[in-house]
């Protein structure tokens, strides 16, 4: 895929999509045509960025935080290079017949995984699996699209066949809630990060831990409140697999008020060495999503009273964008031209990063 020409400093609101309930998670489908969001009403909502149509996916009975697709990337590249912006409402309804098929797997806080036909006009659960004892906190699909990984509060990572939903293996070793999971682009390894910031690197051929990476800076036991706060709220590999990024909260001085700072921890995949990406300003909140942009910068978003999006080149925080609501998740469009946040007020805001626009940049 060609590297898109984008300018983070021109990041601005493209379109704001509304749902009546607070949002939890968001992901673009592999083609880039759809934005899926999960909400506190236990539904998923699919926004068609071409037609503006909103479709509910009902079947979960609790909140959904895990959203993954198979195949994880469209073979022909993004079908929708740029999310429509001002033109959205003027487009004629295209129907869904042109949407390439894909499988959607979602995980909820009752421990269930549901398989869906992500492009279906009237979506229904294709498979509903009792996957974990307690919350499913994240799901991810393997680079070949054949396996989905899930992790949760039962301290386990589990692998499932995307095709038939059958369990493939259980990775045991974490001693607390597992917050996130990601496949290495090479396909043979998988990482999982728990509440205490322990990142386990699993060899999928043996189901054994190869090494542990230290993201404990994303965890704190608050002695005042006698409770733990931590975990990688967002976790992803760079496309070439050379770097792993985890984001969450650090420097917590009051866990029960969310007083701390967002942080991205980058691990060099070869030697496991870590470095930190911090917002330049003294922002209080939690990092909820992180992504590697193909142009070479890292983008993350987080939330507190309001949300924020940060951009880093190297370790330099080159830009920030204020988000008018607490950002509870962030997704990068597969074209690299846009990103979306899931807002607590029920709004999914799609930001475009394309240079040159009639619209003014978002407020800094």
């Amino acid at each position: 895929m060609a590297i898109p020409t984008v300018d983070p400093k021109q990041t601005r609101v493209g379109v704001e999509l509304k749902h009546p309930r607070p949002l939890i998670g968001c992901r673009f489908d592999p083609s880039g045509r759809f934005l899926f969001v999960s909400a506190e009403d236990s539904t998923l909502q699919r926004f068609d960025l071409l037609t503006g149509r909103k479709t509910a996916f009902t079947g979960h009975e609790s909140w959904v935080r895990g959203i993954a697709f198979s195949p994880p990337a469209a073979a022909a590249g993004p079908a929708c290079l740029v999310p429509p912006v001002a033109e959205l409402s003027a487009l004629p309804a295209l129907g869904l017949s042109a949407a390439p098929p894909f499988t959607l797997v979602t995980g909820d806080y009752h421990g269930r995984l549901i398989w869906w036909d992500g492009a279906a006009i009237a979506p229904k659960p294709a498979r509903n699996v009792a996957a974990h004892d307690g919350w499913v906190r994240a799901v991810a699909t393997s680079p070949d699209g054949k396996t989905v990984a899930s992790c949760g509060n039962d301290h386990l990572v589990k692998l499932w066949s995307v095709t038939d939903g059958k369990p493939q293996s259980v990775l045991e070793g974490h001693a607390c809630h597992v917050y996130n999971v990601a496949f290495h682009p090479g396909g043979g390894r998988l990482v999982s990060c728990d509440l205490k910031g322990i990142v386990k690197d699993w060899d999928l051929s043996t189901s054994k831990v190869v090494r542990e990476l230290d993201a404990k800076i994303l965890h704190k036991y608050d002695t005042g409140f006698r409770a733990d706060i931590g975990g990688a709220r967002g976790m992803t590999f760079s496309a070439d697999g050379s770097t792993l990024a985890c984001t969450g909260i650090t420097n917590v001085s009051n866990a029960f008020a969310g007083v701390g700072n967002p942080l991205v921890v980058l691990f060099d995949w070869k030697d496991g060495k870590a470095k930190q990406l911090k917002p330049k300003e003294a922002y209080q909140g939690t990092g909820w999503g992180v992504a590697f942009h193909p142009a070479g910068f890292v983008v993350a978003a987080g939330g507190a009273a309001n949300g924020r999006i940060w951009f880093w080149t190297g370790e330099d925080n080159i830009h920030k964008v204020d988000v008018p609501v607490s950002a509870r998740d962030m997704a990068l469009h597969p074209s690299g031209t846009a990103l979306a946040i899931a807002g607590h007020a029920g709004n999914a805001i799609v930001y475009t990063m394309l240079p040159g626009s009639e619209k003014a940049p978002a407020k800094k």
Partner: protein, 428 residues
């Protein structure tokens, strides 16, 4: 009821004498100062009833405990699960407690109308809204006064706090005086100086005590007062407590039972509470912290209630197995509940308008649910009660008449708020 406050000063003075004697007897005298004074004993009943409370600090969420609302806009991500009482559901975060519901009751129509931590705690512990110019005694002090015989070896009002520390909470007793004040046992550890220091031989300790008694007797020959009598009495009581020091030794419990309580702090504290109640302590409170979850309410309730659930269920079952449930009132309370509305940080804030407590034992109607909140828990729709109603109910459950008076300074003060009354549906 006559006023008798000389022993109130005793405690302070005896504590100060630790610097002189520095030994176990003097140390623990501070903890038992005033208990069993003859004057007080005359006023005390002999009910054999006890009170046990758990205070969930910060304000536990009623929606994640006793009054779940799954599938509503306020319900959050958790399920409601069935309990041992058909038709009663509580949060899935309390699976062990759910199996003890036939021994418990719920009040789901609580409106305490104050969202401040300090004031909320006072309302729940005194049954009254804070008033300028007067402080009312907390439930523990009231229970110690009304239910004790005055001849107990152990203090009548004990609080087990997480973390270290210890000492007195004198303000808890208000006008009842420090003899009914909470003795705070930090982290469930025996009070400091309970045991004779290792470097002090039995003979040296005996000689030292003999010297103390000789000096005391000489002093009393010419300057005997109520205060000096109280000093002496406190030392005698300290000796009794030291003799009963093993009550703090939870390692004497069956290890399998200790496992069921849990080897973590809260489990140890509840096991100690049961030992203290079993040994005749009139009132024991265990504090569990913290539930003030303005941020990530659901994660933190998983963690905190995960620690609470099994020990509490074990405690209830243990009391039942030992035949103590009929004579022990159990109350699980907070200073308030939490907002039905989920905030932008996945938190819940303070909410006193519609919340719940769990209670049981002492003849309360097991399996009862009194009061009701609306569909999404924002308001009480049936049998609204406040802290005063609960306070009346507690005292009625332990066989006391809450409409009687205390007489500090010969002035009548109703034991419980006269504007409220007991929840009679809950009383057997």
């Amino acid at each position: 009821m006559t006023r008798c406050n000389y022993a109130c000063q005793t405690a302070d003075h005896v504590v100060s004498r630790r610097s002189f004697l520095g030994a176990a007897a003097a140390g623990f005298a501070g903890l038992v100062g005033g208990f069993g004074s003859p004057a007080a004993a005359r006023e005390l009943s002999r009910s054999g009833k006890r009170v046990f409370t758990i205070f969930l600090h910060g304000g536990v969420s009623q929606l994640e405990t006793w009054d779940p609302k799954p599938g509503t806009d306020t319900g959050g991500p958790f399920r409601a699960i069935p309990t041992s009482v058909p038709g009663i559901h509580i949060s899935e975060l309390l699976p062990h407690t759910a199996r003890q519901m036939h021994r418990l009751a719920l009040v789901r129509g609580l409106n305490t109308a104050d969202d401040d931590h300090g004031r909320g705690a006072i309302i729940m512990q005194t049954g009254r809204k804070p008033e300028p110019g007067i402080e009312y005694p907390h439930l523990g002090a009231v229970a110690a006064k009304l239910l004790g015989t005055g001849k107990e070896d152990l203090p009548g009002h004990i609080q087990i706090h997480p973390g270290g520390g210890g000492g007195f909470n004198k303000q808890d007793a208000a006008f009842l005086g420090p003899r009914y004040a909470a003795v705070v046992v930090g982290d469930g550890k025996p009070p400091a100086d309970l045991y004779r220091p290792a470097g002090l031989s039995t003979e040296a300790d005996r000689q030292r005590e003999a010297l103390r008694q000789k000096l005391n007797a000489r002093f009393a020959q010419t300057r005997r007062t109520a205060m000096t009598e109280a000093y002496t009495e406190s030392y005698d009581q300290a000796a009794k407590v030291i003799a009963r020091g093993d009550v703090f030794s939870i390692e004497k419990e069956d290890p399998k039972l200790a496992d069921r309580y849990g080897r973590h702090d809260f489990g140890r504290h509840l096991l100690l509470a049961r030992r203290l109640l079993e040994q005749g302590v009139t009132f024991v409170n265990v504090q569990h912290t913290n539930y003030d979850t303005h941020h990530e309410n659901f994660d933190f309730h998983i963690e905190q209630l995960g620690e609470f659930d099994q020990p509490f269920a074990t405690f209830v079952a243990d009391l039942a197995d030992r035949g103590m449930l009929e004579s022990t009132l159990i109350v699980v309370m907070s200073e308030f509940g939490r907002t039905p509305k989920i905030n932008h940080l996945y938190g819940r804030d303070h909410w006193s308008k519609s919340w719940s407590v769990a209670l049981g034992g002492c003849g309360l109607k097991a399996g009862a649910v009194i009061g009701k909140s609306n569909a999404n828990g924002t308001a009480v729709t049936d049998r609204e009660v406040n802290g005063g109603h609960l306070f009346h109910t507690y005292l009625r459950a332990v066989g006391q008449d809450p409409t009687k008076n205390f007489y500090p300074n010969d002035r009548p003060i109703p034991i419980a708020d006269p504007k409220a009354s007991a929840i009679t549906e809950l009383l057997a």
